[in-house]
Symmetry: C2
Subunit: 261 residues, 2 copies
C-alpha cells in the first residue's frame, strides 16, 4: 500500500502505466494500451499522470516500477507475462517488492483447465503461473494465463484484447474519484490567434485543464480546444465562453461533449 | 554534454524520448511519434532505451528531462512548443539546464518571414521564438516555428508531420553506431510450444535480442519471432536455425527481413 492508498479521502486518485517491452522501443509494435487505460481510468475519476516504456532489462523494470508505485495511487504494467524467455515481468515485480516468486496453485489450475485435451501444459507455460508472493489473480477470459495485483500494482498482459479484458475485471476494485468530463470546441482558426484569449480563459477557470491541439487532416487545418475537469457546470460555462471567443475572432465553433473532435 | 557524449568511441549510442502533453495521458491523442523516432534512430544504430510521457506540469517535465539527459546519449522531446498557454516545454528545458529563456533573433526572423502578409505575428506567436540560451535551432519546413538542440537534448514539435521533418534535419548531427538489423520468423505455432527452443537459441546468440510476439488477427493466430542486432551474419544463421526449430515442431516458418511481419 502506498501513502496515497492510506488516505481514502484523497480527492483525486492517480495512476501510472509502465509499458514493458523491447518491441515498443524498437518501433516494431505501436502501443495501443495507453490510450485505452487512460480513457477507462478517466471515466472513474482516476487521473493517469505518467507513463514509462522500458526494455526487457530487469534493473530497468525494477527501478521504474519502484519509482512509480511510490508516487501514484495505482500502477498498471503491460507486457512480459507470457511463456517465453523474454517474459521477465513477474520476476522483476517480485524483486521490486522484495518477495519470492511462487508457483500459484490457483493459476496452475486455470492453465490446466485451459490446456486440458488441447495442448501440453509444459514448463514454459507453467512459468505463466509464477506470481510474486501475495499477488491476487486477475482473470484472463481469453487465454487463461492470469494477471495479478500486488499492493497498488496491477500486472496485465500486453496483447490489447487480453489487457482490456483484464482491466475491465480490475476496474471495480479501484477507488475512483469524481469522473473527469470534457468538452471540445473545434474551429478553423489558427492557434496563434486564439492564444491570448485562451490563456485568459484558463486563468478564469483554474479548476479546468484547457488544452489546444492543432490538427492538419485531409487538407483541412484548425484547432481542437479541449476543456477537462470534474465540474460539469464550469465546463459548460467555459465552453460557451470559448464559443463566444471563437465567434468574436471570426471563426465558427463546433462544440462537442467529450474530448474527441 | 553528457558523459556518454564525452566518449565518442562508446559502441552503442542510446536515446530516450520524452513525450510532453496532457492529451496523451488523457487518452485523447494516441502518440504516433515514438515508433517513428525508434525506427529512424535504429537505422543509424542509436538504441532507444526509454520513453516517458509526462503531463503539462513544469516540475514533472524538468525532473524527467534531467533524469533522462543524464542517462542517455540523446534525448528527444515532443510537444509543448506551440503558442498557447499549455505550451511550456521551452521554459521547462531552460529550467532543467539552468539557463535563461531568451528570445532568439534567428527564430524571430523565421517567424516574421512565415507570417509576413498572412497573419499577425502577435505576442503569442513570438513566444515560439523563445529558446533556452545556447540552443541551436532545428528547421521547421512546415510551419516555421523552430525546434532546437541544447546539449544532448532535441526539442521537437508534437504534431507528427512537423516532428518528422525536424527529426530528419537533426539525424545527420547525431553520432550513430552500427545499424540495427532485424529478421522476423512468423508461424502459426503457439508461443508456449516454441518457448524452450527459443530460450536455448537466445542463449546461443547472446549478441542478438530475440523477442516473441503473439498475434491474433482476422481470426488467425500465431507468433512473430523477431531477432535484432548489429551482426547480420549471426542474424541470418540464427534465423535459419529458428526456421529449422519451427519446422521440427510441425510449423511452417515465414522468414522476412526487418522487424515487421
Amino acid at each position: 500500500m502506498t501513502s496515497s492508498d492510506a488516505n481514502p479521502t484523497a480527492p483525486n486518485p492517480t495512476a501510472a502505466v509502465l509499458i514493458i517491452g523491447n518491441e515498443i522501443l524498437s518501433g516494431r509494435t505501436k502501443d495501443a494500451n495507453l490510450p485505452h487505460i487512460a480513457e477507462k481510468l478517466g471515466e472513474i475519476g482516476i487521473r493517469l499522470r505518467e507513463a514509462r516504456v522500458v526494455p526487457d532489462v530487469p534493473e530497468e523494470i525494477v527501478d521504474a516500477l519502484n519509482a512509480l508505485r511510490a508516487r501514484y495511487t495505482y500502477v498498471f504494467t503491460t507486457g512480459g507475462i507470457g511463456p517465453t524467455h523474454d517474459d521477465i515481468t513477474s520476476e522483476c515485480v517480485a524483486r521490486a517488492f522484495g518477495v519470492p516468486l511462487e508457483r500459484n496453485a490457483d493459476a496452475v489450475e486455470r492453465l490446466e483447465r485451459h490446456y486440458a485435451g488441447r495442448q501440453q501444459l509444459n514448463e514454459a507455460r507453467l512459468r505463466m503461473a509464477n506470481v510474486p508472493a501475495g499477488g491476487i489473480l486477475v482473470d484472463n477470459p481469453i487465454s487463461a494465463a492470469p494477471g495479478y495485483q500486488i499492493g497498488n500494482v496491477f500486472v496485465l498482459a500486453g496483447v490489447p484484447n487480453i489487457m482490456q479484458a483484464m482491466l475491465d475485471s480490475v476496474l471495480p476494485r479501484l477507488r475512483g474519484g469524481p469522473p473527469i468530463h470534457a468538452r471540445t470546441v473545434s474551429c478553423e482558426l489558427a492557434e496563434g490567434r486564439l492564444a491570448a484569449d485562451l490563456g485568459a480563459l484558463q486563468e478564469r477557470y483554474p479548476q479546468l485543464e484547457i488544452g489546444s491541439y492543432p490538427y492538419f487532416r485531409r487538407g483541412d487545418f484548425g484547432v481542437s480546444l479541449v476543456l477537462r475537469g470534474t465540474d460539469e457546470a464550469a465546463l459548460d460555462t467555459a465552453a460557451e465562453e470559448l464559443c463566444g471567443i471563437v465567434r468574436t475572432l471570426g471563426g465558427t465553433p463546433a462544440l462537442t461533449i467529450g474530448a474527441k473532435g
